[in-house]
Structure formats: C-alpha cells, structure tokens
Homo-oligomer: 298 residues x 4
C-alpha cells in the first residue's frame, strides 16, 4: 500500500557544488505539479534564491509527508537521524560520489521522482542504532546512527583497551584502535573497508568489526539486531577515546565510561523507485561486473 | 522445559584413538545408572568388545531419546545429518582437536553427562542447509549440512565460473575457486578460514564466502536464513566442479548444473551442559584471552 | 643499451577468438617492414592460413631474437617457461581480459610494436621459480613458474598437512587447503586473491600465502628471493595433493614427498613499450582511480 | 667476528612493574663479573636505589660498548632511535607482554646475558626509516623509526586524502584512515594487525599498508628498501592528520605538507643469544603451534 505525496520537504547538503542546481530543478518540477513544498532552513540559505517556505530540520517532519534529500549518502544519514522520530519516508537524490541510499541520479530526477510521487515506489524499513554513554552511572550523551557507531582513538593515537559484553555476557577484552558497530545499512560503508561482511539490508543483525586488533584472531561477529551491546572503557587513566555516530557526531569518552548500544525503537522509511534492486546496486558500486585480477590459468 | 533421558544412543568416530576408551567408560557409567543404551552398529564394531544392543544409524533415532556423540565436531556433523529427521537431541563429547559442538571433555564426562541426564542442560536449535542439484531439470542429488555446503574445484584445478541468484534475483557471476555457503554453526569452521565473519548461532542467517575470487571486491555476504540460493555452473565445457556437504559427502557437477540451497525444514536439537557459554567457547577456541601481536606503542 | 630486432618469433594462444586476426595483422606489419618471421607450429596451425615458416616452441628461441606473444598473461606465462632457457626477450600483445604482462592493446599494435622494433623499449628482468619434487630422495618431477608454484588439494577435497622449512630452518607445520609460493610477477595474480601483498616486480623476494589455513594467525610471509623453500607432505596416507606451475602444469604428490623450490638461474627478459609505468598498470587493473566505497562521513 | 663487552649501558622502561627488579638483578650480575656499568639517567631515577654511574640517553652510546634494554619491544624501539647514530649493539630483556626484539626472559637472564658478554651471540642489522616533513619546502620536522612511520587521522576523525609517489612516480591518490609504512622489523607489529604481510627481517624491503581504504582494491605493497616514498597531504583545508614514529613521537601535519620517507643511513645492531631462531619466535608469538579452527572435514 503506497501513498500519494502532497507536501514535500527538501533537504540538501549545504555548500556542495551542484546541490543548489538540483534543488532548484526539483523545486520547479514540484511546483509545476502543484505540490506543497517546504525547504529546510539551512538548505534554503545555501540556495541562491529560494522562494519556497522554509522550516527547521526538527519541524520538517511534522509538516511534510515525504522528505527528498539531495546530496550523497552522508546527507541522507544526516537527515535520517533527524527525521526518524516522525517516521516520514525519505527519498534520496544522489549528487555525491556514490549512493547506496541516494539512488536517483540528477538526470533522471523528473522521471523517477514523478513516479514516486504518483505512488509507484518501494518502501524499505532500515533500523538505526541508539548509543548511550554513561559516566558514573549517569547518562552523559546519547545519539543514533543509521550506518554505524564507532569507538575510536581520540587525539592521542594510542591503542584503546575495552571490554565487550553482549546481553550481559562477557565477550572479550580487546586492545585495538577501536570497534565499529554497524547496521546492515552501514555494512557497505566504513565497516566494509575494515574487513566486515556485507549484511543484506533486510537482515535483523548488527556486525561488530574490530579495528586493527592486537589479537589477530579477533574477527567480525554478526549478532542479533535486538542484542544489547555494552562496552566499558578500561580504567587506564591515559585512554580518552571517542564515539562517533555515522561519523558525523562525536562524543569524548573517559576511562570507565560505559556505552550501551541497542536498536533504536523507530525505523527509517527509505523510499526507492520501483525498479530498485539491491544486488544491482551492490554490483554497480563494487564493480562486480568487472574482472579485476590477472588471470591465473587462463 | 527439559527432559529426563531414559534410552541413550551412542555414536562414535570409528578408528579414532581414544574414542573406544571413552565409549566404554560411558557405557559403564550409563549402565551403573540403569539406563537403556543402544550403540550404532559401526561404532560397536570399532569397540574392542561391546555388550550393548546395536542398531543402524538410520534407526538409532527412533529407538533412543538422546544421542551422545563421542569424537570431534566432524563426528557430530556426521551424526547430525542422520539424526535431524527424527529431532532427537544430541550431546557431544570431545575427543578431537577442537570442539565448538562437542563441548564435554572426557575427564569431566561423568559429572557433565550425569547433569544432562538429570535434566540440567541447555538446548539449542541449530538449522541445517538443504542442497539439491538439478541436471536438465531433474533432481540429481540432494544432501544436507549443519556447517556448510561448498562449491569447489574438482580434480582439475581450474577457476570455476558460476552465476548466483538469491530469491530469484541475480547477484553476480563469479570466477573463483568456489563458494562457501555456511550456517551460523559453520561460521567458525571453514568459512572463518576463508575470511567469513562469525555468526552468532541463534542468528537466522547464512553467509556466502567467495573462495579466492578473481574480483577483489567480492566479499562475504550475510543473507536471511530463509533465502533461496541458486547457483548455475557456467556452460563452459571444461568446468566440472564439486559440491560438498559438511566436507563429508561430495557430488560431482557438470556445466549448466543448477544447485538450489535453502534451509532444511527440521532443526538439530543440540544439548550443552548447564554452564555452557557461547562466547566463552569462542574466547577459548580463538585464543582471545592471549595477546598475540607485538606491542606497537607499549 | 637496446637491440634492433631482425628476426621475430610469433606465439599465440590457440583457439582464442581474435588471436588469429591479431597474428595475421602482425604478420602483415612485420613483412611490410621486411623482417624475418617464424611462427610457432601450434600457433600456425590455429591460424586460418599461415604462409610464414614455422618451428617448434623449443626451437623458436634459437632462431629468433625476440618473441612476440599474442594472447593474455596466461599465454605469456606459457611462452616464458619455454623460452627462458635461451634468454630471448619477450613482448606481449593483450587479447585476453587483463594484462599485467601483455601490455600492448591490438589497436595500438603497429605504433607500439614499431617503436619496440626500432629499439625504443624498456627491458625488465623477471625471475622464475624452479620446483623439484623428490620421492624417496629421487627426483620425480621438475618445473618452473613465472607467477607461482601452488601446492593444493587434489581430487579429494581434504585439508593438506605439510611442513615448511626455509634455508633448512623449520618454519611451521600447517593444515590448510594449500600454499601459494609466488614471485613478484605472480603477486598480482592468484596470490593477490588469496590475501597476499603486491610485490614490486624489481623486488628480489618471494611471498608464501597459506590457503584457508586452519590456524587463523597464519599470514603471508615475504622472504628473500634466494631462500630455499622446502615442503614435506605429511605421512598421513590419505593425502594426495598436487603441485601446479603457473596453474598450467600439474604434478601428483604423495605422502612424504619433498618439494624444493628456489630461484631459477635464468631470468625472463620482458619487454615493454617506452611509456610503460608499473604503477599505472596497477592503478588501471585494480581500478584504483575509482572510489568504490560508500562515503562514511562525506 | 664477535666482541667481548667491557662497558655495559643499562636502559629500562620507567614505571613498569618488574623492570626495576630486573635492572637490580642485572646490575648485581654485571658487577660480580667486574664489568663497567652506566645507567641511563631516567632509568636510574626510576630504580629504588641505583649506585652505578649514570649518564643521559644521548651520551650512553659514546661511553658503552653494548646497551642492554629491559622492558618490552616498545622500550627497545625507544632506545634504538637514540642509539642508532653511534652504532652500539643492543640486547633486549623482555619484561613486557611480548617480545619480537627483546628475546631474553628475566628467569634466564644470567645464563643468556653471560653467554652474550662472553662473545657467544648473533648480531643482526635492522634498518630504520627516516621521515622528513616539509611545509612550503622547508623542513618542519624529522624523525626515525625502527618499526613504522604511520600517517593517521588527528583529533578529528575524518578520512585523510593524500597522494603517494615512489621514486618520483605517482602511485595513487588515496582516501583512507591513513597509511602504515613499515620496515621488516615492524611488519610483525602494527602493520600485521592492519593486514600487512610478515617480512623476513633480513629483507631489504618496506611495506605500505593502507588503513581502512575507501577503495577496496587498495592492498599492501612491498617495495625496495631503498625506494624514496613521498606523501602529499591533499589541499583540502579541513584535513590535519598526524605522523607517528614507532607510535612514540608525533608530528602534526597540515594540508599540502610533503612527507619524504627513506632508509636511515645507519642500521641498528641487534644482538640475540646464540640459540635465537627467527621462525621459532614467529611460531611462539603467533601461536602457530596451536590449531585454532574447528575442523572442517575431520
């Protein structure tokens, strides 16, 4: 059961060349269709002249029935964390280098967006992670992430030492450069470059990828999406690592801090054109079509 | 809700030093408890003198209410494929090198087995894969696997070329040495040495690990446990790969053969002593307790 | 100091579509330049009509002062092993999928080959490995390889067990699917897909890459090109692995066989057009120009 | 040709439990042998009571004919960078977790050190890297490293973008978390946890290991030890990475900075007891003796 969208919210990466052009093109196209359009305030200020009404990122969700993000996957991550609370569907138009999430190209904008607005689209649920940082048992910071929460070294490049528990069961104490906790959505991003597996987006699972672990047998572990992950930073007074949410928000940590990561209760509604195929995106982004190696036997 | 077991089936690896001793020890222990015991025929013939009734592997399940396997994980894999149809619980006693599945050591046999027989145990469900090979649309062979189904080069060491589809959607055509399709149970066996992730045993997922892929960006993919996997061997007349089930049964393949892999409808009931902890087994088998690398900064 | 070549030997992959066309084009081009041309016998028989004199692969080297190979890297490997004894320079024209060794494309054939014949070329020395198999201290078989010598499972897919020594010092006993022993030339072929590093072709080194090792901490080791490598197949009577040379020649092994691998005394003289750059080839073959991953932070 | 050592310099990790005890034990042992001993100033101040003459780290080399380092590999790295200029041999006694470089255990101290002092030892040459940082063509900083020089993200966790050239030839522009440039000595340290190969210590080679590269086909490259490596930080004004020497000294970098890395002209003279075997150390440190994986076929 799909919707016909009437009120469109626009969200774009500020200061990215080309984004402003695409936003204007989109605005003209939506107005020609006599649809209501609201532009996120900062997005509007980055456009050369924007004659549409604007509103803040926080209120965009309550006014619109779909959000279109123009930019790269990073822009969509950014929008997703703000929008997920209101469960508004999101559609991405790719202006960045690559797009696992933003899968409409500017040159097919009118066709594809037109189709989606007419109710011809696929909707996927993508879950986010919620991360809480506790210091002395008090909540210090909280954030969520569509791709990944990453524990990493702060400004001093020192190995981190921490303990990991899953659902209250001790898993290991690890010395490493950090730990990537990734959703299926994030499994094709940072986690992949760290040696993690690709998780199909419909999988209810989370992957933990150790970064440069001291112990060579430390390997990526895939666990249930509903598992509760706890990390305790070692009491060593010289380690002040950080925690990042989608690589966009950062929290400074201290020894003994406790991080609790679990599934965020609300899911992102991600919209794709009708002809979207996940494996086709993988093939295209990872150049699977091309044979890369020197032939061995030929 | 646990059971009290009354009739125990014994199954052991033939010709493994030490297995016969452990079987005799077990037999004495079970008789002292006045329990009914039936020994699998081939197992009995490998024991120096076996005075218990025997029956074939196929009928063991219908006579007993629990099977105890003495050997390594390989022996348990072997038993599991025979027993799964009858859904009899299985307990493993480790005589081999390592045991992710067989987690009782001979020296703790009486304590641990005693506890289990008294109903103090944990029961896990582990799913198996079912693999069917079709030639010209006719079913040529079928098998199942608790660990993994592996497509690999046959006697000529040539790169294999095949196409992969999941739920009817084309994923890729690949040139490689083969493909490992592993359950969570198998994820700590062959798949792990091929670079696959560890999947928690309760995860309803399957991992596909390309073996020495020609394309460097081919990476392990984790998909839903209920997905239907199809592999079509390329029409190249020189490729005659093989398919193995748990590395124990083998099928010769030919060009154009179609392999269909999906979850086997019945699950293995795997029994552990009450103090079994999955992550503890991982830590112990993978030496996570030990720091293996030279300290970088120290 | 470069040569002007007067007598050209032609060598091509039999039965590869397009190779015959390129050979004819090359023949016309060389005749127009009034150069002597001899075609390898099997190559000639695969050409639709070949009016040039022919000779066997073994004698080609003694008659010509340069060999041009038309095909893929596999064809050049094939030629290289035959020609190395005579130290005739070799030039490759790429008709296969990829070419680390055959770096002239058919469409630039006349320009590039013309330049090379005029003495405008780069010459590289590439070393080969020599592998000897001893059974009961008698030499059973011998071969050489420009890319790699690979110990692998034979027709039964069983883990191999063997011992490795370098310069007489015991290194490890390993259980795995096999071992790749690769030259720098082969480091971008099979070895790379097995997780081996890229070795610059001028490096006097050999890399040993374990295949699916049982022990997760078994990693590629790079040793001196002059080191003597010895492998002893375990005495287990069920293991009959094989040894391959460039994936093109195969030797059946038996328990207790001893394999001795060392540098072959003569080197291949590999010729490139003047504008050849190694790192450019790498960039192009491995798609380094392209960004493959989803942006993390953007 | 070995030396008999007369004047021993002592160097230890300050504040490491156990180091002080071992230093005192060593001091008593050396005095009983009537040898001259000088203790490095900071080391002496960390000992509970040190009645031997002391001198600064910089002058230790000019007074002594051998330096004994007590600590872990980190302490030896620290000493090595100070001592290499004077080419004094160094012997390591391991008090840390692991020791590829410090291979005498405290409990065998008297035997092994005694042997070495009597001239029964092996001497290895280990080369160091020299790294220079240029800003606007002026030398900003310089350092050397026995293990590795690492380009990494500074306090903001952002992907770094840089260009790499070897011997003046462009290799690639890379987006990643950084780059490890490791000697053979460092190949078993940080580089190994980043997926780099093990390089035999006598190899005249350097390995470049990309850290979490954006491009999945970026792989470790092994080049000649005499190659000149140049890295240019991208002109993007938001990237301020860092450079570390053995993880112990750090330089802040800015956009457009140029880093030149080449072999340091003087080599470390590393001393081992007579029975030292490199592959034995590898086997022991990497647990190669132990089979870590679940048996596949058994």
């Amino acid at each position: 059961m799909t919707q016909h969208f009437k009120h469109i919210g626009l969200f774009g990466k500020h200061s990215h060349p080309g984004v402003s052009d695409t936003l204007h093109q989109l605005l003209r196209f939506l107005k020609a269709r006599e649809l209501a359009v609201t532009v996120e305030t900062e997005t509007a200020s980055a456009m050369t002249r924007c004659d549409a009404p604007t509103c803040s990122r926080e209120h965009l969700g309550s006014q619109c029935d779909v959000i279109i993000v123009v930019g790269g996957d990073g822009s969509l991550l950014n929008a997703a964390r703000a929008i997920t609370h209101q469960q508004i569907p999101v559609l991405g138009i790719n202006r960045g280098r690559l797009g696992f999430l933003t899968d409409i190209r500017p040159n097919e904008l009118e066709n594809k967006v037109g189709e989606v607005l007419d109710g011809h689209y696929l909707e996927e649920k993508r879950f986010l992670l919620d991360g809480q940082v506790f210091r002395d048992d008090k909540l210090l910071a909280e954030g969520n992430a569509l791709n990944d929460i990453v524990l990493y070294q702060g400004d001093v490049a020192r190995m981190i030492e921490f303990e990991l528990a899953i659902n209250g069961e001790f898993v290991y104490s690890q010395r490493s450069d950090g730990l990537i906790i990734s959703t299926p959505t994030g499994s094709t991003a940072y986690s992949l470059s760290g040696g993690g597996p690709i998780l199909h987006p419909e999988l209810d699972a989370v992957v933990l990828v150790p970064m440069f672990p001291h112990t060579l047998t430390s390997r990526p572990i895939v666990i249930n999406g509903n598992d509760k992950i706890e990390i305790i930073i070692a009491a060593d007074k010289e380690t002040y690592p950080r925690l990042s949410f989608d690589g966009q928000q950062h929290v400074n940590l201290a020894p003994n801090d406790r991080i609790v990561i679990s599934k965020f209760p609300k899911q992102l509604r991600l919209i794709h054109p009708k002809d979207y195929r996940y494996y086709e995106t993988l093939r295209s982004k990872l150049h699977w079509g091309t044979k890369l190696l020197a032939t061995h036997t030929e």
